[in-house]
Amino acid sequence: MGCGEEEVILDEEVFAVIVALAVVASAVGIASIWRPQEEGFVAIGLLDESCRIGLYPRNAAPGSNLTLCISVFNYLGRPAAYMVSYKVALNSSQLPTNTTPSSMIPLATWVGALGDRSNRTFLVKVSVPGDAVVGSRVALVFELWLLDPRSGTWVYSGRWVHAWVQVME
């Protein structure tokens, strides 16, 4: 460095980039603090008797008991009281939809409460109806219902799972 040359300790361009990064970090940080709550959802999952995805029963005798595992997830952004309702559908038209539950009568229910961003997995023992026709296929349906604190009633969440089984001797 000769006389008259000025040594720049902190390069101006580098400094500008650092300040720009600070501005962006500030904006992102403030936005993340005050961001509105995301749209919540609930979910239900059906697992096998080992509580894993995989070996679902394919065949069942009328009146026999099957062990399955149910997972319930709450991401509503608030605590929720849930009810899992077990029904047996004899054909596709008796399956629930996103808006309407199955028209069949519940054969069993399981209830519980979950905090926000939490889930629960539990074993259930369900029976295949004794009057199921041998050779036919039936769907084991599990619907997720939520307690609506405004109306004081259980409301169908629009979420369900089902597994088809062949009725055999």
Partner: protein, 150 residues
């Protein structure tokens, strides 16, 4: 005249006693009817309270566990157990409600403080970074000797 007065007092006393009995019966039956722990109304109130507390950033984990146990007891038809759990749940909700306002204020204060800090971050970077950098630059060279150039 005396006899008439006494009989009137007796009638008045009987009516008063009757009204008092009705009042007592009403008072004793009202809490049981209104606090049936398994009624949809009670369960809804509990869920509503939990939602409200949760919206105020209160940790409602313990109360949710009680509600879970309560629902299961109701599902089994075990009313005695349900009443016992409900009393614990009500106690838990009551203590959480007392704490909820303070918790909300704490969270809002924390958020405002954090927002102010983040808003000042670019300004702090602009003003302090060159000074800090210079200080460190000189600190790193403090043992350097100055030599006159020829």
């Amino acid at each position: 005249m005396w006899i008439g007065c006494v009989s009137k007092l007796r009638i008045l006393g009987t009516i008063t006693l009757f009204l008092a009995l009705i009042a007592l019966a009403t008072l004793s039956s009202y809490p049981v009817a209104s606090q049936d722990p398994c009624s949809p109304g009670t369960l809804s109130e509990v869920v509503k309270s939990l939602e409200e507390l949760s919206s105020k950033f209160v940790d409602v984990g313990e109360a949710i566990d009680y509600l879970d146990q309560l629902l299961k007891a109701c599902s089994r038809g075990d009313v005695g157990e349900a009443i016992s759990i409900y009393s614990r749940l009500a106690e838990s909700l009551s203590s959480l409600r007392e704490y909820s306002e303070r918790r909300l204020q704490e969270v809002i204060a924390y958020r405002i403080t954090y927002t102010v800090f983040l808003a000042l971050l670019p300004l702090l970077t602009y003003t302090l970074l060159p000074r800090v950098y210079l200080y460190l630059w000189y600190l790193a060279r403090r043992k350097w000797a100055v030599v006159r150039r020829r």
